[in-house]
Amino acid sequence: SSSINNIRSNRRTFSSLGGGSGGGGTGDSNGNAFLLPGATVATILMLGALHGRRLYEDKKIEEKRERGIELEFHQDVKASFLGILPLRSISRAWGSLTSVEIPVWMRPFVYKAWSRAFHSNLEEAKLPLEEYASLRDFFVRSLKEGCRPIDPDPRCLVSPVDGTVLRFGELKESRGMIEQVKGHSYSVPALLGTNSLLPMVPEGKDESGEEAVGDKGDKSWLRVSLASPKLRGSISASPMKGLYYCVIYLRPGDYHRIHSPADWNALVRRHFAGRLFPVNERATRTIKNLYVENERVVLEGIWKQGFMALAAVGATNIGSIQLFIEPELRTNKPKKKLFPTEPPEERVYDPQGQGVKLEKGKEVGVFNMG
């Protein structure tokens, strides 16, 4: 009680002196002096603890993976917390920040730091680093000629992007479901849109005898509705076709332009204004229907083997998806309210039935920040 009295009397003395800001060793100004460093140290300690916990969890996951244990879907607090954040606004703010023009002399330093942090290959950039006015410009850089040779084999499909293969396979007995992670799948019509051109029954198969991909009773699978009956005719019924899928994840440091995987005609474009959850490996394990919820642009059409669809799915830091065949398309636009079941904005490319011809390996679009 004596020390409390002491502090009180000190405080009184200080106030009677009119609270001067001068030093002179009054207890209160000392308290103030410790406030800022104390808060800084506390913040650093908290960030350190969070980072340490993240490293520990990553280590445990790695150990499980090495033991061949496949990680299962497991929603957690962080995923629920992400659900309440205004991720689209955060993404647009990030886009504005990265569009700020950088002084010429600083650009090499900034882009080298980015490439060191995200393992980008600066040697492949088409232009000198000084010519990329902002981080956003640098992010959508083209590459030097010859950096991405296209596999010439006419009987192959090539990767449309740089990235990591997450999932791939045939949609056979899986009823058109793609596994996001063990324990959770999403349906192909949910990804591409319920009025997709997708012929869900592998052609050449007898519908009545075998189980079709999708249950006959569940009409939503099999309904192929097109803007015009003529389009329907454009997908020729050729024998012995299977339906395949491949999911490729692009890391922040990867080259982010999207190329055509084969010679095909894009007939329809669908834009789903959606959430912008992160799509990293952790998010695939903790956020349900990640690719169906997120903002995405789907191109659908036909190639010599039948149906082809390419879905470009955005993420928090990459909310913009631009199509070179439709430059006026804008994604991640401010919206008052976002209804998860909001139908996609659809456009049938002219001429109907032919659409836009895309050559194997040619640039189709680009992901961008914000």
Partner: protein, 46 residues
Amino acid sequence: STVVLVFQAPTGNSPDGSSSSSDYRFCVKQGDRVRVGQALGRWKEE
């Protein structure tokens, strides 16, 4: 960001379900790093 490709390709499955050489086959594995223009899979035309 992520790209999902869905496409039809030859499958030589005979009615008894056994695959044949003209099947479309992926030539990548889960976790592989791929680049633009690299083959994801091939089929053989019989």
